[in-house]
C-alpha cells in the first residue's frame, strides 16, 4: 500500500481546469519533489491531498484511507497528514510552544504536560530550543517556518506535505529550513514537497515530478529529470530556474500566472 495514491485527479476553479488528470503514487518513506512553472497546478495538487481543495474528480488515498470519500472523517485523516505552508500560517496569538501544543491538546486530547513535552522535543528537533516562549512576530521567517514544521510533526503524521516552504524566505534563511527537511528525509519521513529549490530536490528527493499545464509531464530520479530531462518543456523550465538571467524578454510573461 502506497503512502499516497492519487488516481485520475481533476480540479477546476470555475471554467479554469487546473489539474487535468493526475496519477501519482508516493511510497512510504519516499521523498517526492514536485517542480514546475507557477500556475502548473502543483500547489493545488498538494492541497487536494489533505482536501484543503476539494477535487472535481478522481480519488486520493492517504495511508489506505480515501480522502475523497464523502463519508470519510476528514479531521481524522488530516491528523495523519502534516502540512507546511508557504506563508507559515503560525497562530500569531500563541507562543511558539503554544502553536505546537494547541492541536495536540484540542485534537489529540493530550494532557498539558504531555503536550508540552512533545512540543519541546519537536521545537528542539528544528533547532529552536531557545525560542519556545517567543511569539511569531518576534521570530524571523526561517524560525517561523521551523515552528510550523514542529507544529505539524508534533501530531505524529505519517506523511508531510510542504507547499513551497522556502519561497517566502530571505535567501540567507532558506538553508535552515532545508536543513530541517533534509534531516526529516533522512529519518525516513514520507514527504511530498512542492519547491523551486533545485539543489534540494537534486540532493534529497528520491523522485522528481515535473508538472506543467495541470499534468505530470515527466518523473523519475533527480539525476534523470534534472540533469537529463526527456521533454522540451522540462528543459526550458529548468534552464530558466537554474539560470534566471538567461531568460529572454517576452519569454517571461507567459507564466506569470497565479500560484503565489
Amino acid at each position: 500500500m502506497s503512502a499516497i495514491e492519487i488516481t485520475g485527479l481533476r480540479k477546476s476553479f470555475g471554467s479554469l481546469e487546473v489539474l487535468r488528470g493526475i496519477d501519482l503514487r508516493v511510497e512510504s518513506g519516499e521523498v517526492v519533489c514536485v517542480i514546475g512553472p507557477s500556475g502548473s497546478g502543483k500547489s493545488t495538487l498538494l492541497r487536494c491531498v489533505n482536501l484543503l481543495e476539494e477535487p472535481t474528480a478522481g480519488t486520493v488515498r492517504v495511508a489506505g484511507a480515501e480522502v475523497t470519500d464523502p463519508e470519510v472523517d476528514i479531521d481524522a485523516v488530516r491528523r495523519r497528514i502534516g502540512m507546511v505552508f508557504q506563508s507559515f500560517n503560525l497562530f500569531p496569538h500563541l507562543t511558539a510552544l503554544g502553536n505546537v501544543m494547541i492541536a495536540q491538546r484540542k485534537v489529540l486530547k493530550r494532557g498539558k504536560e504531555e503536550a508540552e513535552k512533545v512540543a519541546r522535543q519537536n521545537l528542539a528537533r528544528v533547532g529552536l530550543d531557545d525560542k519556545m516562549d517567543a511569539y511569531p512576530a518576534q521570530l524571523s521567517g526561517g524560525q517561523q517556518q521551523r515552528v510550523a514544521i514542529a507544529r505539524a510533526l508534533a501530531m505524529g503524521p505519517q506523511v508531510m506535505l510542504f507547499d513551497e516552504p522556502t519561497s517566502a524566505l530571505d535567501p540567507e534563511l532558506v538553508g535552515d529550513v532545508l536543513g530541517v527537511m533534509r534531516g526529516l528525509a533522512r529519518e525516513g519521513m514520507t514527504m511530498m514537497v512542492v519547491t523551486h529549490e533545485m539543489s534540494f530536490a537534486r540532493e534529497v528527493a528520491d523522485r522528481v515530478v515535473f508538472m506543467d499545464g495541470g499534468v505530470v509531464v515527466e518523473q523519475g530520479p533527480p539525476a534523470q529529470v534534472i540533469e537529463n530531462p526527456g521533454h522540451e518543456r522540462t528543459r526550458t523550465f529548468l534552464s530558466r530556474v537554474l539560470d534566471p538571467a538567461a531568460a529572454r524578454v517576452g519569454e517571461i510573461d507567459r507564466d506569470t500566472g497565479k500560484d503565489a
Binding site: 489533505n50 484543503l52 479531521d75 481524522a76 488530516r78 491528523r79 497528514i81 502534516g82 502540512m83 505552508f85 506563508s87 500560517n89 503560525l90 497562530f91 500569531p92 496569538h93 494547541i102 492541536a103 484540542k106 485534537v107 512576530a137 510550523a148 507544529r151 505539524a152 501530531m155
Partner: protein, 275 residues
C-alpha cells in the same frame, strides 16, 4: 535664500507669510465667536440654575449610590448580553447554512434600523403582553438588560463579523490541516484573533450603551431603580432647579471620557503591534 532665478512669490507674499495670515485670520474668527457667546449669555441665571452649590450638596450620595450604580448595572448587563448574542449572530451571518444567514441579516437590519427608544417600549410592554404571566429573570433589571442587549447585539454582530473576516484565510487552513474541526478551529484560532481586532470598537460600543441606558425610564422605574439621567431630571423638577442635570451629566463624563481614552490607547497599541 540664494540664487538669482528664485521665482518671485505670487501676490508679492512668501509662502510662510501667507500661511501666517491665514492662521491669524482663523484665530481671530474663533476668538470673536467665543467672545460673542460669552457676552450674550446670562451668567447669573446660569449660575443659580446650574451651579447652585446647595442643590449640588443635596444630591450626594444618592446620585452615586442609586443613579450611577444603576446606570453601571444596566450598561454591563446589557453589554454582556449583547456581546454573547452579537457573537452568535456574527457566526450565523458567516455560516454556510442559508436560513442562519437570512436570520442574522434580518436581525441586524431590523435592530440597527429601529430607534433604541422603540425597542425599550417594546420590551417594557410587548413582551409582558406576548408572554403573559412569565417574568424575565432579574425582573426589571432583566428587562433593561434585554432591551440594551437586543440593540447592541446588532451593532456588535457587524463589528465581530468584520473582525472574523480580517483573520487571514491561512489561519483556518492551518488549523484544519492539523485535524481541527471547523467549529474547533473557529473557537481556538479564529475568534480569539478576531476579538483582539474588535476590542477598540467594542469599547466605543460600551460608551454608546452607557448613554443608551438612560432609556430605561421608558420601561417604568421605581425610585430605587432610577439611573443617572432619570435621577437628575426627577430631582430637577422636584427642586425647581436644573443643577442635578448638570451633575448627572458630569457623572456620565467621568465614565465615558476615560473609556474613550482607553479605546484610543488600545487602538494605537494595536497599530503598533502589527507585523
Amino acid at each position: 535664500m540664494a540664487g538669482v532665478d528664485t521665482p518671485a512669490p505670487r501676490g508679492g507674499l512668501t509662502r510662510r507669510r501667507r500661511r501666517q495670515l491665514v492662521l491669524g485670520g482663523e484665530y481671530a474668527v474663533f476668538v470673536a465667536a467665543v467672545l460673542l457667546v460669552v457676552a450674550l449669555a446670562d451668567w447669573q441665571a446660569l449660575k443659580t440654575n446650574f451651579f447652585n452649590p446647595d442643590e449640588m450638596g443635596r444630591l450626594f450620595p444618592e446620585i452615586l449610590t442609586v443613579g450611577l450604580r444603576n446606570t453601571v448595572i444596566f450598561t454591563i448587563s446589557g453589554f454582556v448580553l449583547g456581546l454573547v448574542a452579537g457573537l452568535l449572530i456574527a457566526l450565523m451571518r458567516l455560516s454556510s447554512v442559508l436560513p442562519y444567514r437570512w436570520f442574522a441579516i434580518a436581525y441586524i437590519e431590523v435592530f440597527r434600523g429601529l430607534p433604541a427608544l422603540l425597542i425599550f417600549i417594546f420590551v417594557g410592554t410587548g413582551i409582558p403582553l406576548a408572554f403573559p404571566g412569565t417574568e424575565l429573570p432579574g425582573g426589571f433589571y432583566g428587562q433593561v438588560a434585554l432591551a440594551l442587549g437586543l440593540v447592541s447585539a446588532a451593532y456588535m454582530a457587524e463589528t465581530i463579523r468584520a473582525g472574523i473576516e480580517a483573520v487571514p484565510r491561512g489561519q483556518l487552513e492551518a488549523a484544519r490541516s492539523l485535524g481541527m474541526s471547523h467549529g474547533r478551529a473557529m473557537r481556538s484560532i479564529v475568534v480569539p484573533q478576531a476579538f483582539r481586532v474588535v476590542i477598540p470598537p467594542l469599547t466605543n460600543e460600551l460608551v454608546l450603551l452607557f448613554k443608551d441606558s438612560s432609556l430605561a425610564l421608558f420601561i417604568g422605574v421605581t425610585l430605587n431603580q432610577r439611573e443617572l439621567a432619570k435621577f437628575g431630571t426627577d430631582l430637577a423638577s422636584e427642586r425647581g432647579n436644573t443643577t442635578p442635570i448638570l451633575v448627572a451629566g458630569l457623572c456620565y463624563l467621568i465614565i465615558t471620557i476615560p473609556l474613550g481614552y482607553l479605546a484610543r490607547r488600545l487602538e494605537a497599541r494595536q497599530k503598533r503591534g502589527q507585523r
